[in-house]
């Protein structure tokens, strides 16, 4: 078997294959539901209803999508330059830690100043966390996949240490959690009575910002060039290492905003379970969006919907919630395969 590139894929191929990938994903989910002794149609219906069946469900989905937009953007920006940042989880926690440090009375500023200052500080922290692995990559040739992955574990231990030590809430009844953020540091809700905070607005803004950067600036062009062929980019005079460092700073900063928005917008304090793997899920979000920053918004909402829907389905139908993770991993694998096949034909010989 070998693959032969197709110069001009037909529309049927371009649309049909991704649809087939989605259908295969739904089929896998149905089989899992059957395995759990539930009616597949009812299970899928309950997931859909739980994700978008009511105003409450929809807002819950958008709330869950917010950190995923940030981590999805972080991954999309990095992967575009073939910088394999698998450490969004660590960068997210760095942002969350800084948010708590500055948001619990350290800075006597009014809300309008305090919130932007914290957001920028969080971004810097996240950027610095990724700076280490990227410098190791450009200076010493150390593969960033493993270093960023290992940093996730180190960061979680650091957060655990902080929450049981200097950052522990004295009023926390012994639970490892931080003190609550001051009111001035909290992100307000978008509308009174609406359970959606401005973190979502910031996420949309970030998506547009990244899109502008990627399509309208020199740096965006350079990032693309480095990702497509670093060697060629170097010959063409692109400062490859510099571009990688800039990409890393941006990527780390974006991931840190997920931590900032979760603490300042949703939770109000920091605990060890702030992120149920938002950093890793960001990879799925980015890949399903084909690394397109505006697509990240849609795919984050889709992914969040699957999680929120599966939670509520699980309570009603008894199929384990982990069906959501399997569904998304399947979607990721089938989608990358489908996209490959839109550009190549299989020859069985």
């Amino acid at each position: 078997m070998r693959l032969e590139p197709i110069a001009n894929p037909t529309r049927l191929r371009l649309v049909g294959l991704p649809v087939a990938a989605l259908a295969l994903t739904v089929l896998v989910a149905s089989l899992l539901a059957l395995l759990a002794g539930a009616n597949p149609f009812a299970t899928l219906g309950l997931i859909l209803e739980g994700a978008a069946g009511s105003k409450f469900a929809l807002l819950e989905t958008l709330n869950r999508a917010t950190p995923l937009i940030f981590t999805g953007l972080a991954v999309a920006v990095a992967f575009r330059a073939k910088l394999w940042n698998i450490g969004a989880e660590a960068q997210l926690y760095a942002g969350a830690v800084v948010t708590v440090l500055l948001g619990t009375g350290a800075l006597p500023l009014p809300s309008v100043l305090l919130i932007p200052v914290i957001a920028v500080a969080a971004m810097i922290a996240g950027a610095l966390v990724l700076l280490g692995p990227v410098l190791l990559k450009t200076r010493a040739g150390v593969d960033e996949v493993v270093t960023t992955l290992l940093f996730n574990f180190i960061m979680l231990l650091i957060v655990s240490m902080l929450l049981e030590g200097p950052m522990k809430d004295p009023m926390g009844m012994g639970w490892p959690k931080s003190a609550a953020l001051d009111k001035a540091a909290r992100l307000p809700r978008i509308a009174e009575g609406l359970r959606l905070h401005w973190g979502f607005g910031l996420a949309l803004l970030a998506a547009v910002g990244v899109w502008v950067l990627q399509t309208r600036t020199t740096l965006g062009f350079e990032i693309r060039a480095v990702g497509q062929n670093a060697q060629a980019a170097r010959f063409a005079g692109v400062p490859v290492n510099q571009v990688l460092v800039k990409t890393a700073l941006l990527s780390g900063g974006l991931a840190a905003l997920a931590g900032f928005s979760e603490v300042a917008g949703l939770k109000g304090n920091l605990t060890l379970d702030l992120s149920p793997g938002f950093g890793y899920t960001g990879i799925i979000v980015a890949m399903l969006a084909l690394l397109n920053p505006l697509g990240v918004v849609l795919s984050a909402i889709f992914v969040a919907g699957v999680f929120v829907g599966a939670d509520s389905m699980s309570r009603a139908a008894g199929v384990p919630t982990y069906i959501a993770d399997i569904l998304l991993a399947t979607a990721l694998l089938t989608m990358v395969l489908a996209l490959r096949l839109t550009r190549a034909r299989i020859h069985w010989r």
Partner: protein
């Protein structure tokens, strides 16, 4: 003072060898994949599914060796999926590997909840027992460390020899290494790069799963969701540290395990008790990063690692 006491205690060395065993299985598995030219980031998830499948088989009444077999088959299944997507289809090994890790991990969690819907503490199984090798196990220090272990540990050490022999002393090993260095040359010999690479990923993934199974069947006798806890990523670092050679990588695993055993013991010393325990838990991850930094410059990476091969394309 305490440090010397620890280093001279037989239980410390026995622990180091025990901790190294799952890492040796998984590192050998990853090494086989990478020597053939495929980076397998599915390792973390494949270790999880191996840990789960082995434990579940024994919990359902299967024998211990049957558990190991089922674990290996489950790993090979996910390996086959990884190989199919990355070798003939040439998809990104990063994306597919992480996808396999997510898939295998969540499949384990799903199956666990399916079988044990409301259990809060997972049931224990009767694990592999320690086999004392006559005469040798009576040696001071070395005896308890090397010759009072479970069958799976002995198998892990045998695996280093087997992988080394196959890779360097057989035509198959030569072809496999060539597939990772110069696939076009392999094809010119009339061999199939696709078959070699897929075979390597499937077999390697089987070994990773046995490494996972060691955790539930020889170390903890029970399955926890987070039990693999980055060991797979550590093994990828160990392959680099060992410069893609089985013996060196296994030595790295032992060294790493010794540090891990040491940090557990240092926590209990008077000085260690004053430090946050998280510092000690960080040691394995920090060491892995240091190992990568130390070796990255010198390492001879397989030339065609992560380069998909499409017949007839140049």
């Amino acid at each position: 003072m305490e440090l010397f006491e620890i280093l001279l205690s037989a239980s410390f060395w026995a622990a180091a060898v025990r901790i190294a065993s799952p890492l040796i299985f998984a590192t050998m598995g990853e090494l086989i994949c990478e020597r053939a030219g495929v980076l397998n980031l599915g390792i973390e998830g494949i270790m999880v599914i191996g840990a789960f499948a082995g434990w579940m088989t024994v919990y359902q009444g299967g024998g211990l060796w049957m558990g190991v077999g089922v674990a290996m088959l489950s790993g090979m299944g996910f390996g086959l999926l990884h190989a199919t997507l990355t070798v003939p289809f040439g998809l990104s090994q990063h994306v597919v590997g992480l996808g396999i890790t997510l898939l295998a991990t969540s499949a384990s969690s799903f199956a666990y909840r399916l079988v044990l819907p409301e259990v809060t503490s997972p049931p224990k199984i009767e694990p592999f027992q320690i086999i004392e090798i006559p005469v040798l196990s009576d040696l001071p220090l070395i005896g308890p460390a090397l010759f009072q272990q479970t069958a799976l540990t002995y198998l892990a050490f045998a695996m280093i020899l087997i992988v080394g022999l196959v890779l360097y002393r057989t035509p198959l090993g030569l072809a496999l290494r060539a597939a990772g260095e110069n696939p076009a040359a392999v094809e010119a010999q009339g061999l199939s790069v696709t078959a070699l690479r897929m075979g390597a990923v499937v077999v390697g993934s089987g070994l990773m799963a046995v490494g996972g199974a060691f955790l539930t069947m020889s170390a903890f006798s029970s399955f926890f969701f987070d039990m693999v806890n980055g060991r797979g990523w550590v093994c990828i670092a160990l392959v680099v540290f060992g410069a893609w050679r089985p013996g060196k990588a296994a030595l790295g695993a032992l060294l790493f395990a010794a540090f891990d055993a040491l940090q557990i013991r240092l926590q209990q010393t008077p000085i260690g008790a004053h430090l946050p325990y998280q510092i000690f838990l960080m040691v394995p991850y920090v060491l892995s990063i240091l190992a990568l930094i130390l070796m990255s410059r010198r390492a001879e990476v397989p030339a065609a690692l992560m380069v998909p091969y499409n017949k007839g394309e140049r």
